[in-house]
C-alpha cells in the first residue's frame, strides 16, 4: 500500500513536470513557418547542393519533408561537428530557430539518422 501510494504520487509528479516542461516540438519544413522564433527540432531530408564550411562561416543546405509531397524547402545554416553520414539524401534532425526565412541551427546539434544500419540495400540505393 505504501508502495502504491508513493508510486502514485511519483506518477503525478512525472506527468506534471513533463507537461509543464513541454519538450521541444519536432516538425518538418512544411510546418516550420508556424514556429518562427521558437526553439524546435527540424526533421527532414537533405536536398540539393551542400555549400559553405561548417567550421568557418557555417554550412548551408536545404531540407524537405521526409514523407509526403510537400514542396516546402527550408534553408538551414549550421556550424559545428558534421556527422559521418551527413550528405544529400540523408534524413537528419537539427535543433534551432527559424529567423528571417533561415533556420539557424544550434552549433553541434546536427544528428543524421543512419537508415543503412539495418537495411543497407534499400537505403544506399
Amino acid at each position: 500500500m505504501i508502495a502504491l501510494s508513493v508510486a502514485a504520487v511519483l506518477a503525478v509528479f512525472i506527468v506534471y513536470t513533463s507537461i509543464a516542461g513541454a519538450g521541444t516540438p519536432e516538425i518538418g519544413p512544411s510546418t516550420v513557418g508556424q514556429h518562427v522564433g521558437e526553439d524546435v527540432l527540424l526533421v527532414g531530408t537533405v536536398v540539393g547542393h551542400v555549400g559553405g564550411n561548417a567550421h568557418a562561416g557555417g554550412m548551408r543546405f536545404l531540407l524537405k519533408d521526409d514523407h509526403g509531397a510537400a514542396v516546402a524547402r527550408t534553408r538551414v545554416l549550421y556550424s559545428g561537428s558534421v556527422p559521418d553520414l551527413f550528405r544529400t539524401g540523408r534524413q537528419i534532425v537539427v535543433e534551432g530557430t527559424l529567423r528571417n526565412g533561415t533556420f539557424v541551427a544550434k552549433p553541434g546539434s546536427l544528428v543524421t539518422k543512419c537508415p543503412s544500419k539495418y537495411t543497407p540495400a534499400k537505403s544506399n540505393a
Binding site: A7, I14, S18, C114, Y118, P120
Partner: protein, 650 residues
C-alpha cells in the same frame, strides 16, 4: 541449404506449439507423461533452431549471396568476422538469435528444475507460448532464408558496425533481454499453478542475475563502442534505443533487490510478480521500439512491418500477466507487514521505488513524442535536460541509499545504532565534500554530490569488509561463506566507480575546437596539441586519411595521436577514426576527432579532455566479478534450501 534452414525453423515452430498446447493440457489435466513430452519438445526445439542458426552462419561465412539476407548485409570484401556478425546485424537474423537463445535458456531451465514438477508444469507452456511468437515471425513474416538470384556483390556492412565491439555487444544484449523471459515464465508458471511461495524466485535467482549481468555488460560494451567508434566523444546519449536497454535493466535491478525481501520476510509478493512482468514487458517493448521505427532515433531502424506484430504480442503479454496477477491476488497477500520505516525492508522499498520511478520516467520520455502526437497532433520530444533532471533527482538518492541500505537492521533499526554505524562513512564523505569544494569542484552541484555520495558508499562498503574480516579472520573465507552478500557489495563498488566515472567525464569535461594548419597548436585542459602532418593509407576495404598530432603537457612530450577519417567505397560512406590517449595519472582521456579535413591540409580538430572516464570501463570488470561471486553455487545455501523445501509437500 536455405531449404534446410526453412525446414528446421518450421520444425521448431511445430515443437514449440506442441510445448504450448500439450504442456497446457498436461498441466491442466495433471498428465505426467504428456508434461514430460512437452518438456522434451522444448529441448528439441533448441536443437532444430540451432540447425537453422548453423545454416545461416555457414551462408554468411561463404558469402552465399543467393540468400537475400546475406546479400543485404555482407559483401565479398567484408572480413570473415564481420560477415559472421551480420547474423545479428539485420532483423531476420536478430529474430533467429532471439529464438535460439530463448529455446536454449528454456531447455536448460527446464532440465535443471525437472524435480519441481508442479512449478515446471505450467512454466513449460508459458515458455512455449513466447517461443511460438518468435518462431511464427521467423517462419511466416520475416524469414532469414529467403532466396533470390545472387547479385554480383552484396550491399556490405555499415562501416560503424565494422568494429570488434559489434561482435560482442548485440549478443550480450540478447542474452540479457531474452534471459528475463525465464524469471517471467517461472513467475507466471507459479501463479498458474497457484504456488505463490518463493520457490519460483529461488529457482530463477541465478537466471535473473545472469540476464541482468549480460544486459549490464551489453550496455557497457555498446557505450564503449559508441565512445571509440561513433566519434562524438560521449558514450550515452539518452537515445530511445539506448533507453530501451536501460529500462529493463533498471526494472531487473529493482527485482533483484525486492526478491530478497520476499525470501527473508515473505513480503512484497504482488510487487515481485509485477516487477518481473514489467521487466519482461520492457524487454519486448525495447524490441518493438528498435523494430518499428515509430520513434525518431539516431539508430533509425527501417520502418518494418514487424512493429505491429510486436505491439500485438506486447499487448497480449500485458493483458495475460495483469489478469493472472489479479486473479491470484488473494493468494499473494503477504502475512507480514512493514514494521518500521527505518529498517532494511524499508530501504529496499525506497530503492525499488526510485529504480522503478527512474525506469518509468525514462519510458515516459521515450513515448512522449507518440503521446503528444496522439493528443494534439504535434510531435514534441524531450531531450537530455529532461533525462538529466530525473537521473539527478532519482539516481543520486539511489547512490546514497546504496551506502545506507545494507547496514540497516532487518525489521526495525534504532536511530542510535544507525548513528554509530554511519559515523565513519558520514565523516569520510563530509571531508571529501569539503576538500573537493576547496579544489573548485563546486562548478557542478550534481558532480559534487555524486563524488561525495560515492565516498560515503565506498566507506560503508570498506567498513563492512573490515568488520566481516575481523569476525571470520580471512577475507576469502568471509566472501566464500556469504557469496550473495559480498558479491552484492562488490557490485555496489562497481556502481560507485561508474558514478564517479560518469560524473567526472560529463560534469567536469573540457571541449575545445579549432581549425589548424600544419605546425599550429591548440590547448585543452593543460595539454598542448600540435598538428604535425597528414597522411593516407589503403586498408583492406577502406581508404584512411589521418593526421599526426603531437600531445605535450608542461613542455614535455606525452604521446602522438592519429585522428582521421576512413572512406569505404563499397558502402559509399565515411567514418571518423578517433584517436584517444588514456592518461594513467588522471585515469582520464584526451579524445581527438578530425572533424573536417580540407584539401589544402587544414584540419578542424575537436579535443575533449574527459577526467576519470576510464573508471566507467573499469566498473564493468568489477561488476562482472561481483556478479560472478554472487552467482557462484554455494553448497551451504543449497543444503539450507533443500531442507526448507523438503518440509513442503510438492
Amino acid at each position: 541449404m536455405a531449404l534446410l534452414g526453412r525446414a528446421a525453423l518450421l520444425l521448431s515452430f511445430g515443437l514449440v506449439v506442441y510445448a504450448l498446447v500439450g504442456g497446457s493440457l498436461a498441466a491442466w489435466k495433471r498428465r505426467r507423461r504428456l508434461a514430460l513430452s512437452a518438456q522434451n519438445a522444448l529441448v528439441a526445439s533448441f536443437v532444430t533452431t540451432l540447425v537453422a542458426a548453423i545454416v545461416l552462419f555457414i551462408a554468411l561465412g561463404r558469402r552465399d549471396l543467393s540468400f537475400v539476407y546475406v546479400a543485404q548485409h555482407t559483401s565479398h570484401s567484408l572480413p570473415l568476422g564481420y560477415a559472421l556478425s551480420a547474423f545479428w546485424g539485420g532483423q531476420e537474423g536478430s529474430l533467429l538469435l532471439w529464438l535460439l537463445v530463448l529455446t536454449g535458456y528454456a531447455s536448460l531451465a527446464v532440465l535443471l528444475n525437472r524435480r519441481s514438477r508442479e512449478l515446471i508444469a505450467w512454466t513449460v507452456p508459458v515458455l512455449g507460448g513466447i517461443a511460438v511468437f518468435f518462431a511464427m515471425m521467423l517462419c511466416f513474416v520475416s524469414s532469414p532464408f529467403a532466396t533470390a538470384a545472387a547479385p554480383a556483390d552484396g550491399a556490405g556492412m555499415d562501416p560503424s558496425l565494422q568494429n570488434p565491439y559489434m561482435l560482442a555487444h548485440p549478443p550480450m544484449l540478447y542474452l540479457g533481454y531474452v534471459g528475463l523471459t525465464i524469471p517471467f515464465a517461472f513467475a507466471m508458471g507459479a501463479l498458474l499453478a497457484r504456488r505463490t511461495d518463493e520457490r519460483w524466485i529461488v529457482a530463477t535467482r541465478r537466471w535473473t542475475l545472469a540476464a541482468w549481468t549480460f544486459l549490464g555488460v551489453g550496455q557497457l560494451l555498446g557505450a564503449h563502442w559508441a565512445y571509440v567508434e561513433i566519434g562524438w566523444g560521449g558514450y550515452y546519449a539518452w537515445d530511445p534505443v539506448e533507453n530501451a536497454a536501460l529500462m529493463p535493466w533498471l526494472a531487473a535491478t529493482a527485482f533483484l533487490h525486492s526478491v530478497m525481501i520476499q525470501e527473508k520476510r515473505g513480503m512484497l509478493k504482488i510487487w515481485n510478480v509485477t516487477l518481473v512482468s514489467l521487466a519482461f514487458c520492457l524487454s519486448i517493448f525495447g524490441t518493438f521500439l528498435t523494430r518499428s521505427g515509430v520513434i525518431n532515433s539516431i539508430h533509425s531502424f527501417s520502418q518494418s512491418s514487424l512493429g505491429g506484430w510486436f505491439l500485438g504480442f506486447l499487448a497480449l503479454v500485458i493483458v495475460f500477466s495483469v489478469a493472472l496477477i489479479y486473479l491470484r491476488l488473494p493468494l499473494l497477500r503477504s502475512k507480514t507487514k512493514l514494521e518500521s520505516l527505518v529498517s532494511r525492508e524499508a530501504t529496499f522499498l525506497y530503492n525499488n521505488l526510485l529504480l522503478v520511478a527512474l525506469a518509468l520516467t525514462i519510458l515516459w520520455g521515450v513515448v512522449y513524442p507518440l503521446l503528444t502526437q496522439a493528443v494534439n497532433g504535434e510531435t514534441r520530444s524531450v531531450s537530455k535536460p529532461y533525462y538529466d533532471f530525473f537521473l539527478h533527482s532519482f539516481g543520486l538518492p539511489l547512490l546514497l541509499l546504496m551506502g545506507i541500505g545494507p547496514l540497516v537492521a532487518w525489521r526495525r533499526a534504532s536511530l542510535r545504532a544507525l548513528g554509530k554505524t554511519f559515523a565513519v562513512p558520514a565523516a569520510v564523505s563530509l571531508v571529501t565534500g569539503i576538500v573537493l569544494l576547496a579544489l573548485g569542484f563546486g562548478s557542478s552541484t550534481p558532480g559534487l554530490l555524486a563524488y561525495t555520495f560515492s565516498a560515503f558508499v565506498a566507506a560503508s562498503i570498506a567498513l563492512e569488509f573490515i568488520r566481516g574480516r575481523r569476525a571470520t579472520g580471512s577475507l576469502s573465507r568471509l566472501v566464500a561463506r556469504n557469496r550473495r552478500r559480498y558479491g552484492g557489495y562488490i557490485v555496489h563498488a562497481a556502481i560507485v566507480l561508474l558514478a564517479i566515472g560518469i560524473a567526472g567525464s560529463s560534469a567536469y569535461q573540457t571541449i575545445r575546437e579549432q581549425s589548424l594548419k600544419p605546425g599550429q597548436s591548440m590547448r585543452a585542459a593543460g595539454y598542448t596539441l600540435t598538428y604535425v602532418s597528414l597522411g593516407t593509407r589503403q586498408l583492406q576495404n577502406a581508404q584512411q586519411t589521418s593526421a599526426v598530432i603531437d600531445v605535450s603537457r608542461g613542455g614535455s612530450h606525452v604521446t602522438t595521436l592519429h585522428p582521421g577519417k576512413s572512406w569505404f567505397p563499397v558502402e559509399q560512406s565515411s567514418s571518423n577514426d578517433v584517436s584517444i590517449y588514456h592518461d594513467p595519472r588522471s585515469l582520464g582521456d584526451v579524445y581527438t576527432i578530425a572533424d573536417g579535413i580540407s584539401k589544402n591540409g587544414t584540419l578542424d580538430l575537436k579535443v575533449l579532455v574527459k577526467p576519470l572516464v576510464n573508471l566507467v570501463w573499469a566498473a564493468g570488470f568489477v561488476f562482472v566479478f561481483g556478479s560472478l561471486v554472487a552467482m557462484w553455487p554455494d553448497a551451504v545455501e543449497q543444503r539450507k534450501l533443500a531442507d526448507r523445501y523438503a518440509a513442503v509437500p510438492v
